[in-house]
Symmetry: C2
Subunit: 442 residues, 2 copies
């Protein structure tokens, strides 16, 4: 696992001799808050790391070392700003930024400069984060990839759509990054890159200033190298300070859910999943096998329909005024969306409501659902970003979900499991996930 090795610095070694890019965001934050680490020193380490790794990872659409350093200097010379004080941050290029162009992964917006920050970006800056730059997104957060490569093996995709954010955090270029998920765009790249990715409940985090793809699905999420880290980042966005003080003793009951897509998981992904279940049992976790009802299983397909239909509407300006600058893959998606009728949409909503009701009953018997995060290790090649199969249902239901790295597959690439909580139970979900992370680390 490429988690930061430990939150505990060897206090006999001077801080300057540590590789600061190995610190978790929370460990760095604690030092920054005590002024034992300067924002400039941490940023310098990150920028050096970017210089070394970026040529082969291509995580960034644009970054600005000088501007970031000026901000870090300002933070070092001023009062503490908030919980993210001095933490370098990557921002998916789907978010508007007042000081960087925002390309949304599309040639249409190649030279587009927004006049303001997306709400999530502004909130992070308000809390003291140093925006290093914009990370690569797929085309409008759909399936046509950008140039980013998997930091573990440049011949493989990092996943998408938050490709650059996941790769930048995994490559230790920044401790934290913002992403979004409409299908699996936080969970899958986090799994492929071997880091923690957290998609909060739908509706908790403001989306103002994010290029809209699918209005009932788009959700802001965060990447970090520990559960505590993603909780820190998203706490600022959700105005949930309690996520920064998660209880230590939240031992969850786990619903083991192989999902109807189980056969699409590689043998390695299946093995890693089963090994995780065994380790949880060994750690004293009560597990129950969960079989999803037909109504819940049907949501995989419903999700795709909803996403296509809403994208068809949301991208109306682009499909009408720039049809030649849309990828064939996106055009196919929009074409599919154009065929979804009003009645279809009403039926989709009813299906979601019914499935939500059925699944809600399940969460009486367990606190978290455990599923694979993706079909397996990151696919070879950069033409595709992988299949969102294992997250579509949970994205459609708006449930908080998190990728936890659980080891490596036969190709030497990371594997992850997905932990899913009940809607709006993000505080408990994060605490349960942190407990599981600790128990798997032990």
């Amino acid at each position: 696992m490429i988690r930061a090795p430990s939150d505990l610095l060897d206090s006999t070694v001077p801080l300057a001799d540590h590789d600061l890019t190995r610190l978790t965001a929370c460990a760095a934050a604690r030092l920054l808050q005590r002024r034992e680490l300067s924002a400039q020193d941490l940023l310098t380490a990150c920028l050096e790391r970017i210089q070394r790794r970026e040529p082969e990872v291509l995580a960034w659409r644009q970054y600005d070392a000088e501007r970031a350093m000026a901000h870090a200097r300002q933070l070092d010379n001023g009062p503490l700003r908030g919980p993210l004080h001095g933490l370098p941050l990557g921002v998916k290029d789907l978010f508007d930024t007042r000081d960087f162009p925002s390309g949304y992964g599309s040639p249409i917006y190649q030279r587009h400069q927004p006049v303001n920050d997306a709400a999530a970006v502004a909130l992070c800056r308000e809390a003291g984060a140093v925006v290093v730059g914009k990370t690569v997104t797929t085309e409008f957060a759909t399936f046509t990839p950008g140039p980013t490569r998997n930091p573990h093996n440049r011949a493989h995709t990092p996943g998408g759509s938050s490709s650059g954010s996941a790769a930048a955090v995994a490559a230790h270029m920044v401790p934290l990054a913002l992403g979004t998920q409409t299908a699996a765009s936080v969970i899958r790249p986090a799994a492929y890159c071997g880091i923690v990715g957290f998609k909060p409940s739908f509706g908790l985090i403001p989306r103002a200033g994010i290029k809209s793809l699918s209005e009932s699905l788009d959700t802001v999420g965060g990447f970090g190298r520990s559960v505590e880290d993603v909780a820190l980042l998203t706490s600022v966005l959700a105005n949930a300070p309690q996520w920064r003080q998660l209880p230590q003793d939240a031992k969850p009951r786990v619903g083991v859910c192989r999902t109807p897509s189980w056969d699409s998981a590689s043998p390695a992904a299946q093995q890693a999943f089963e090994a995780t279940v065994q380790r949880l049992i060994k750690a004293g976790v009560r597990v129950v096998d969960v079989t999803l009802t037909d109504a819940v299983c049907a949501l995989t397909e419903v999700h795709n329909e909803v996403m296509c239909a809403e994208a068809f509407k949301a991208l109306s300006d682009e499909r009408l005024n720039h049809p030649d600058q849309l990828s064939e893959r996106l055009k196919t998606m929009l074409e599919r969306g154009s065929r979804v009728t009003f009645e279809d949409s009403l039926r989709h909503r009813a299906q979601v409501a019914s499935a939500r009701h059925q699944l809600g009953r399940g969460f009486v018997d367990y606190d978290l659902l455990l599923t694979p995060s993706a079909c397996g290790e990151a696919e070879q090649g950069l033409e595709r970003t992988g299949d969102p199969l294992f997250s579509r249902i949970w994205s459609l239901l708006g449930l908080p979900s998190l990728n936890l790295p659980v080891g490596f597959g036969p190709q030497g690439l990371p594997l992850g499991v997905q932990l899913i909580g009940p809607v709006m139970s993000d505080t408990a979900t994060l605490a349960f996930c942190a407990w599981i992370e600790r128990s798997l680390d032990a």
Copy 2:
């Protein structure tokens, strides 16, 4: 009532001798579709009307007669584009437009030129609408007014936040206009200006490219001079062609709901409401008195909290980077929003869910709820846009709601009633509203 007098043209009189601005959108659309009326002739009439009325109404932030005429000419010389072919349209200045600056009612964005159309605008253009210009909005669709005056009496407010859109339609400058509602920003200005305003169910119409104020509330709506007209406009946005062929025989059962705010309604508003009830009874409508449960009544206050809390987040860039350019009223709202905690937000959601459940049971006994649209006639003065009191609950519940003009008060200004349907029952709601409109006209 300033509804267009009739859909039926006197066929013995040449079309050119009619005042084309008196046509309902649907009447004009039928002529346009048959090429019996040209887009250019209709637009010419509208532009003449704008020239005459605009100096005292101030409905427009900007309009462009030449560009609109060029578009109308293109439509006349080309194939039929869609159901809005050739219809002049006003667009609230909260929507991004590729060919007009978008100021969002704030000095911060005075010179802001978006690069694309909001999805709703693009969809209207795709359907053949001619965008005449941008109509005045209050500051970020909140409570600080723009310059627009009530077309019935320029000493009175037109209501807000969709002030210009409502005034432009009421003054017969355009047959249709787009607005948005977060609290009462479609219903109230429609009531104050004496036209039909329709806010569809939350989530039916894409919001991409609209300045976000409150994410769980902001809803695109439409203004017209008949139920059929707003159904035509919004059908294009919701991809609901059936709204253009509403059944004629949908006689509703009506729940008469004086709401907990009844005492805030003026005697004239109360009388107009009671008279409407009597006319419905006379028309054979089965009415039942509805008393809202405490949980539903509590939503008036919950709505305000949700709106302030979400606005605080959504306007993060503005409050951090342009605090001096926010009105005191908006600052007070944001300050209030800053105090809403994460736990408060979760409690609000639970309250909404519970109220939705309770109210849902009521819709078994009636098809529509009938309430006052506003506290009374439009207030005198332009410093305030009136109280959103009578729409907060329904906005928070995401229910389709419509203002129907029912006459004039003692000051000679319009009064309206609000008709509310069950969530996602917009098709039936529109049909029931059209039935009531016909029965009140009779």
